[in-house]
Amino acid sequence: MNAILRAQALGKKYGRREALTDCTLEIPPGHVVGLVGPNGAGKTTLLKIACGMLAPTSGRIEVLGEEPNGAPAHLAKVGYVAQETPTYASLTVADHLTLGARMNPRWDAKLASARVEQLGLDPKQKAGKLSGGQRAQLALTVAVAKRPELLILDEPVASLDPLARRGFLRHLMESVAENDTSAILSSHLVSDLERVCDYLVVLVTSRVHLAGETEVLLAQHYRLVCTRRAESDLPPGLDVIWAEHSDRQSTFVVRTEAELPTGDWSAEHLELEDLVLSYMERAAAPARRTTTPTGDAR
């Protein structure tokens, strides 16, 4: 089966500003992918290129095996919910479903109306009068009911309260389970993504710093606490992501694909949030970077 997203040296430049630099990714199908990074890292740019809204300035990208060029056949396979989950304020909920039905050949009207009922939305209510959470749910319903193979969501829960957030993610997971859809969602908070994402991509200042299955990444990273020593004193085969030294103690965040060798340190796995933070800190302090980031883990 096709990788849901395959990018080779993908780049996007606005004048002199680089929004994306040299991004190489290969995301296998059947995952819910979390794209995490600070604001301005390039997440929205990457997602917009993936769904065909923007064209890259360098490199190549393939989504579901095809270039996202806006052809109707491709548009039918990819559902996109933009930042702030836009909806037509003066159109009712029912109008939005009609919109979907008229503009998509593969529209599942039963699913759409079942969802609307399940969510407790009033079909005659204008979208502008819905709460933020309800609007997000409506946008998701419209994207899901056209039965795409891939859902792309740009910071869908960023401005939602915790209750709305949980409701949205439940709806999304139900859709993913029901239709065997893959999904890519972005956020600048790891906590949003932890529950639902089993594949992680970390994007900082326009570059991909980490990509791989969440479980594998968590298993491959350790926090080592030991007496003060230099990085070079560590055994080979350990990719040092981050190092912190006090006068007596050193703390290293390392990655190893093999089993961690025994040593005079205390080793533990990291929480996902700490793991992502280490990479973000490393990206922000390039002078201390030891190796350039590789791509994904298999």
């Binding site: 065909g52 064209a55 806006g70 109707p72 548009l75 909806t87 003066s90 998509n104 946008a139």
Partner: protein, 348 residues
Amino acid sequence: MIWLTWRQFRAQAIAIGALLAVATIALVITGLEMHHSYAADLAACTPQGDCDSTFREFQNSWMPALGLIQLFLIVTPALMGIFWGAPLIGRELETGTHQLAWNQTVTRTRWLAVKLAGVGLVAVATAGILSYLLTWWAGPLDQIAGDRWQAMTFASRDIVPLGYAAFAFALGATLGLLLRRTLPAMAITLAVFIGLQILVATTFRPNLLPSSSATFPINESIASQVHGIEIRHGAEAIYFVGLPVPPGAWVMSAPPIEDASGQVVGTGAHPDCFPGFGPAAGAGGAKSVGPRIEQIGACLASDNLHEAVTYQPASHYWPLQWAETGLYVVLAAALAGTCFWWIRRRRN
């Protein structure tokens, strides 16, 4: 896509439908009344031979209404461009809903084409209906005035309003697309539309087709046909007002009386023809009407003077209507083409 365009435009469509219905009823009712009273007046005054005063009275009673309706018709294309054109794409880009629309299984080109064509056709049709109604309604008044060339008249009759509507709409849509903001697009559309109207009326319309010229020798018979004499620039220039140009012509320039060599002649050169008009007497605009004009004409006849008038003949009216409409339509098409090019550019 057609459904969505209709649904988004529904409120405006209902509003314009209501407006057209009201306008049609009002114009038809008052128009029939006016045409009827014109026919009656005509029947009454023709046997008497002199209809001038009847016509003047007729004109005076209907002029205010005509002025208002003409203004309405000139303003409407601009308003449609602003209120229908600017938000067409601008509002979608502003609110981000284009991201919702462009992700449905409809290409961006089709989305743009249906929106532009759908609403654009309504705009042009509205202008067409209003123009047709006004042209019919003002029939008698235009006949009395004998002049279809006045700026407000030319711009509110026959087919040019359709061109204006197409252009204003395309301009609004393009600016909304390029600026991605509705309000600035509205403001600039208005400014550019007005500017172009002025430009076209002052340079394109008068100069597109070659003008004709008629030279009138100054003599008693000509003098008997004019309405009066104007003396300007401190008696240095004499104008015969109301020279008998071909009917329906658009007088573009009427220089003062000149002698055979082309020199402007003042009253000072012919003091005996203009008793009481010396260089000292009267600043610009001293008029003289009545039998004295024929005397002046007779007096000047022997001096081989003439007054030349440049004009567009009445036969140029329709070619210029078509040409101007064509110009605006071509501009509208170019703007629409720009929109398509821009939309595709974002993609690749």
